[in-house]
Amino acid sequence: MTQQYSRFMRWTSRMLMASMLAMSLPLQSASAGIVETDQVVSHELAGQDRARISAFLEREDVLARLQQQGVSAGEAQARVSALTDEEAHNIAGKLDQLPAGGESILGILLTIFIILLITDILGLTKVFSFTRSVR
């Protein structure tokens, strides 16, 4: 009984394997060689995100703070172009949550955010999960 059962199982599993293989083959050849639309979309969106981060780093108040801290604008910009699509999207998302300027506490928070972002990028700190150090 058990032998019969195991033979039955072996036969079933073989049939299953064969049919799964057969099913996967045509599917693969149908999609191979075509770049899906959503891949193109995410690449385009990442380009926009990068442009937004660059624009943020070019703002005068941001530039002034960077310079106070001894970080050159060139260094920061060079790194923006090296971000992966996903990283650029993450940072752009964080920028949306930032207060749009202002002084006092908001200003201080902004400064801290920028400094940590840049020092993360330079590999001196590791506060944000989405940054990847240059070193």
Partner: protein, 320 residues
């Protein structure tokens, strides 16, 4: 004295309520309305489904989908949307369920002005409201079907009310607490009046992933009417045509994309694949080489396509 103090404090409290409270978007829309916006509009033909307990998500979505000529009842949507533990439906699932039923789900920019423009263009808008406070939230989905600038009112299909009229300020208070979350469900081929190019194309490509290719294709084509050079929409037309085995149309779309965007790996790679499927191997190899030469994050796909086409070409030569 005590009475006067009490009166004073009540006065201060009321003053604070009016001063602290602000409805900036209402002020903007009423103060300087866009010239393109009619003074009032109401979509009376939007059907009404009264909600069962906690079922505002399925009911709201059913109303908008029916307005988009997609026949569906709240009962059908309930298992796709409703989370029994949370007595509600998540925003992302509202968008996902819309796509499952073949409509384009587009989240509007968080602007009252945009929402009113959609109504004026004939599209009802699903909104998320918090009817109570930030610290005691009562979340609620409803469908905005009309407005009246002269009377400063918003008209909704909401809960058990077929025609709920809210003062615009009250509506903004409740809506602002969801960060002005609003979405529309559109039939194939239609674009929201206020659509932003990149976000809308992303919404169509999300639909393409799960729906039949015809629906996505007609929407990509409509998008190209508005933004003729959009790369993703061009690729989208090509990919949907390819999936429908319309290789001639796919080739035309990819050629146009390659011409408008000579640095797009996707355009050349997909063109190569389409040519190879028509056994035009020399032209296919040329396009595939171009794709490989462009590099970038898709370069591995391009290399695989090239290798595959060269193999197929050799195979067909051997046969001859």
């Amino acid at each position: 004295m005590a009475i006067r103090n009490a009166r004073l404090s009540v006065g201060v409290f009321i003053l604070c309520l009016t001063a602290c409270a602000n409805t900036p978007q209402t002020r903007l829309v009423l103060g300087s309305p866009a010239a393109t916006l009619p003074r009032h509009a109401e979509l009376t033909e939007v059907p009404f489904f009264a909600q069962e307990a906690f079922q505002c998500g399925p009911a709201s979505l059913a109303m908008t989908l029916n307005a988009a000529a997609i026949a569906v009842t709240p009962e059908t949507l309930k298992p796709e949307l409703y989370l029994p533990d949370r007595h509600g439906s998540l925003q992302v699932e509202m968008l996902a369920a819309t796509r499952r039923h073949g409509a384009t789900a587009y989240q509007l920019a968080p602007e009252l002005n945009d929402m009113l423009h959609e109504i004026a263009a004939g599209t009802p808008v699903v909104v998320l409201q918090n009817l109570a406070f930030g610290w005691y939230p009562v979340w609620h989905y409803a469908v905005v079907i009309g407005y009246d600038l002269d009377r400063a009112e918003i008209i909704l299909r909401s809960g058990l009310e077929r025609r709920q009229i809210l003062p615009m300020t009250t509506f903004e208070y409740t809506w602002a607490r969801s960060n002005y979350w609003a979405m529309v469900a559109l039939p194939p081929g239609k674009i929201p009046a206020t659509a932003e190019e990149a976000s809308f194309i992303a919404a169509v490509s999300a639909l393409e992933r799960i729906s039949d290719p015809e629906r996505a294709q007609s929407t990509y084509l409509a998008a190209l009417d508005r933004w003729p050079k959009n790369l993703s929409a061009q690729i989208g037309v090509g990919n949907t045509a390819y999936r429908l085995h319309d290789l001639v149309r796919a080739e035309t779309a990819f050629r146009q994309a390659a011409q408008d965007h000579p640095d797009s790996v996707a355009a050349f790679n997909n063109l190569a694949q389409t040519l190879a499927d028509q056994s035009r191997y020399e032209a296919a190899v040329e396009a595939a080489r171009r794709a490989v030469s462009l590099g970038g994050p898709l370069s591995q796909t391009a290399q695989e396509t090239l290798a595959d086409i060269e193999r197929r070409m050799k195979h067909s030569l051997n046969k001859e």
